[in-house]
Symmetry: C2
Subunit: 340 residues, 2 copies
């Protein structure tokens, strides 16, 4: 099913969000037009300062026919989300959310203030039927196939049932957008045994075992790199720690490696070889993080997203819309908790 011809199939892009805004977002939108799965320009709603958008597009060779929607305010990357949303009702983030609410778009993409995007989306769009708490999902390609982890920080103190919802939402994402036919779900824990972990995890383990999900049981941190499952479920605190650790540890390791390569002529070819390694653990390759469970497709990218990351995020939003991820989540939640 394609929503491409309807307003609800449009993707609102927060042009003002991110460290390299607005240029990176505008270039990203232009880049998303290309390739086999290129998007129609009329499918993208560019949200932000209209002058900046028109001027920026002019500099990049002209407007191919994007929908443009003015937003007079910008929420800074480091503003406190709740406060900023209250103080700036016409921020580009709020206008993106408003577009979905008004049925003028079905998805939004923002590289801006993550807390503000999560807050505005959750409050503005509400949760899908059956979902109690949204979760942030990221996908990494570590062992030649994608692994989706959630929650990466939307909900730091979930209840056992929320973790089951994450399992369902992650499975739908893997099936609909990542080509994984029968997603296997693992529960991030500190040992394989059923008895391991906190009360939260022991209860979640029981619920997941009883669910219709393909639950493979507890997995440990390192299993993420071993291909034992396609979806890894965890609480938002642990998930956020893990995600930040992976990002920074990768950078740290690669710096150490680069130093070692210097003596072997690596100054020339090292950066390129290591960039390839870095891409493996860069979740913007899969379009960024999806806030799953809200009534709309919400893609959140890194503040430091470049043109390529923005383009990937727009394509991910389009895939999620076209596949009807949210309808599938609602259906999945209706059946997932029925005993298998």
């Amino acid at each position: 099913m394609s929503h491409g011809d309807h307003e609800s199939g449009r993707i609102a892009l927060d042009v003002m969000g991110g460290d390299f805004a607005p240029t990176s977002n505008l270039s990203g939108a232009l880049r998303a037009l290309g390739g086999d799965d290129g998007l129609d320009p009329g499918r993208m709603v560019l949200v932000g300062n209209e002058d900046a958008i028109r001027g920026g597009l002019e500099e990049l060779g002209g407007d191919p026919g994007f929908v443009i929607r003015h937003a007079s305010e910008v929420i800074d990357m480091h503003e406190k989300p709740g406060q900023a949303l209250r103080a700036k009702p016409d921020s580009s983030i709020a206008v993106c959310v408003g577009s979905i609410k008004a049925g003028q778009a079905g998805a939004l993409v923002s590289m801006g203030n993550t807390g503000a995007v999560v807050g505005a989306s959750t409050l503005g769009l509400g949760t899908l039927s059956g979902v109690r708490r949204p979760g942030i999902a990221v996908t990494l390609e570590l062992t030649g196939h994608p692994v989706t982890l959630l929650d990466m920080g939307a909900n730091i103190a979930p209840k056992p049932a929320h973790l089951v919802h994450y399992g369902t939402m992650g499975s739908v994402l893997a099936r609909d957008c990542l080509g994984v036919r029968e997603p296997r779900v693992g529960l991030l824990n500190i040992g394989e045994e059923t008895s391991k972990g906190t009360d939260l995890l022991r209860e979640a383990h029981g619920l997941l075992t009883e669910s219709r999900l393909d639950f493979v049981g507890n997995v440990e941190g390192g299993d993420i790199f071993k291909g034992v499952c396609d979806v890894v479920v965890t609480d938002g605190f642990t998930g956020n720690v893990v995600l930040k650790l992976l990002e920074d540890f990768a950078g740290f390791m690669l710096r150490l490696v680069m130093e070692e390569l210097q003596g072997h002529g690596g100054a020339q070819w090292g950066p390129e070889a290591l960039a390839k390694v870095r891409r493996n653990i860069d979740y913007s390759e899969y379009g960024g993080a999806l806030l799953l469970g809200v009534a709309g497709i919400v893609v959140i990218g890194h503040g430091r997203s470049d043109e390529n990351a923005v383009s990937n995020a727009l394509r991910l939003a389009a895939r999620a819309l076209d596949a009807g991820v949210n309808d599938d989540i609602v259906r999945g939640l209706e059946t997932a908790s029925e005993p298998a």
Copy 2:
């Protein structure tokens, strides 16, 4: 203060523990005799099957004068700790703990079943005055200076006060054994702001701020690699996830890097260059994990510890004994919670 001449200054080595036991442990004990901080053989109590120990030492060139203590049973790496300890009262682990209890040793080193070592030590030795829950500390050298993380899994559901105890215990370790004069303590969290994280962390943040520790506030996963503090405090669940993730992620990254190096003649020099990188994140370089807070020095190594790791663990145990780490922990806990 040196305990070297007294039985309480001896170190009981679990010769039967670890994937390469008993050989790796015996070679490690021999290796610990060498170097500037070499240990006296009479300071080491080799615990395990006496025939295996004597035979093994013979093969390695003879017994330089170790104390040998027979233990008739061995707890396997994968046995359930509680069950195994009950079923095998004369295991090498139990005999090591018994040696400390009887005043015939002040420390134990084991590369065996971690759960069994933690359980036997905690129950057999009891906790130090002022300590409610022991914590596992590991030290990594990531940015040219050591960073100690705890708890790495002894206590998966700590209370706020326990995290303050970890801060004190980690600071004592850093000061006594790692040459850090004024250890800075960070609290692992998902953001710098005081308001971040779970109730546990917000309460711990308050207690740490009021304590006499040099508390630098919340740190994020990646800060471990940035030298912002010397001691990172976290609950045992998060700590265990982080530790396993770091270990496996490092291996994963280095495999990816090695593949990239193949095309640049890296087959020859790559392994050596990367081994150097690997050592940076290998906590056995600092002697393994210390179970802090029990009435005895307990060093737990990786199951896959080699001769070098065993030797490092023995030296760490000796340093901790000689520095009077446990006396300093008791003193530290008496004063740490007094307002600064």
